[in-house]
């Protein structure tokens, strides 16, 4: 490959790499939860398909730039491959998938089952340690209950206590309609007392006993 091609190819490849990186990041943000996306980025860094960090980085490896050794889909044989030695066309590791885009499964569907935004942590309460999932909602508050969580003035009141799942990990309780009713009852009483004090005046009934 000529020097000219290398220079121009390097410049265009850098822009393309940046675009691909941005598009990939946006796609990852849209398709993956943040936690999983970051995990994938970290995993990709150590693999052979990362941008510019593979042994076959552009312009330096014995296999010259733009010539994919894997015969990948997009222009590998035409000097348009970005990183050369990655098994995927866009330089990303696809060790867990067979497709070119680092994903598996049908279009539009999530192939990473069980990778929602929950996280498992260990929390200590009462001198013991427990494994628990944190969802980030008010149900998490009950892992470390405060006295005012028992009052209907705090949002955590309306969530049930954590429960032990089948995997021996605690899960935060969900929204409790029973507690909602209790809270509404408390507010109704408060409202009734307020109305009686402010607007009701004194009510007296007269009775006679013989």
């Amino acid at each position: 490959m000529s020097e000219k091609n290398r220079i121009s190819g390097g410049g265009s490849t850098g822009v393309r790499l940046a675009k691909v990186f941005v598009v990939g990041m946006l796609a990852a943000l849209l398709a993956f939860p943040i936690a999983d996306a970051s995990a994938q980025r970290r995993g990709g860094g150590g693999g052979g398909g990362s941008f510019g960090r593979s042994s076959g980085g552009f312009g330096r490896s014995s296999g010259s730039f733009g010539r994919s050794n894997s015969g990948s889909s997009f222009g590998g044989g035409q000097g348009r491959s970005s990183s050369g030695t990655g098994s995927g066309s866009f330089g990303r590791s696809n060790s867990s998938s067979s497709g070119s885009f680092g994903r598996s499964g049908n279009f539009g569907s999530r192939s990473y089952t069980g990778s929602s935004s929950r996280s498992t942590s260990t929390y200590s309460y009462g001198g013991r340690n427990y494994s628990a999932h944190y969802y980030g909602g008010y149900g998490d508050y009950w892992y470390h209950p405060a006295w005012y969580y028992w009052t209907p003035f705090h949002p955590a009141f309306y969530y049930s206590s954590p429960y032990l799942g089948a995997d021996n990990v605690y899960y935060p309780g969900g929204f409790s309609f029973v507690r909602l009713i209790l809270g509404l009852a408390v507010f109704a009483v408060i409202f009734w007392v307020f109305v009686r004090i402010v607007f009701g005046g004194k009510r007296v009934r007269y009775t006679t006993y013989s």
Binding site: K202, V204, R205, Y206, T207, T208, Y209, S210
Partner: protein, 148 residues
């Protein structure tokens, strides 16, 4: 100081009045107490401590035109099924020093009215007590108990 005991079984023959152990030949025993009212004269909590007025006297058969004050002293009234004890030992008959027990219960702080009129001349027998009963959730009650 007077210590009067009025007893009745429900008719004139069983009705008697004693003062310091001696029977009083009375023509009328009259007690009227009003207390426990707010600024508009409506019943309110507080009883004796909210202020009021009291009239308590005896008219004897010998001198029916004269009213003999009962207080300072103690008056015990025994009716069928009802017992009243009215006491005021303050030398100046200070109203706030009045104490009232109805059926053994101190109702000093929630009495509204007490009327006892035993009038032999006019054959009138009347006694009732009105108490103010505050309630938390329901409306307060002004209960009148007919004694006789």
């Amino acid at each position: 100081m007077n210590s009067m005991i009025f007893q009745t079984g429900g008719d004139w023959d069983s009705t008697s009045l004693f003062n310091n152990g001696q029977e009083v030949m009375a023509a009328q025993l009259y007690v009227e107490l009003h207390a426990g009212r707010d600024g508009w004269g409506d019943p309110d909590r507080g009883g004796i401590y909210a202020g009021g007025d009291i009239s308590a006297f005896v008219r004897t058969q010998d001198s029916p035109d004269e009213e003999w004050g009962i207080f300072p002293g103690r008056l015990e009234l025994d009716f069928p099924g009802h017992t009243l004890v009215l006491e005021n030992t303050h030398p100046a008959f200070d109203f706030e020093c009045t104490r009232l027990l109805y059926n053994g219960q101190d109702v000093t702080s929630n009495v509204v009215d007490l009327v006892v009129n035993i009038d032999a001349d006019n054959n009138i027998v009347q006694a009732y007590i009105t108490l103010y009963k505050p309630h938390w959730l329901t409306a307060d009650e002004v209960a009148t108990y007919t004694i006789i």
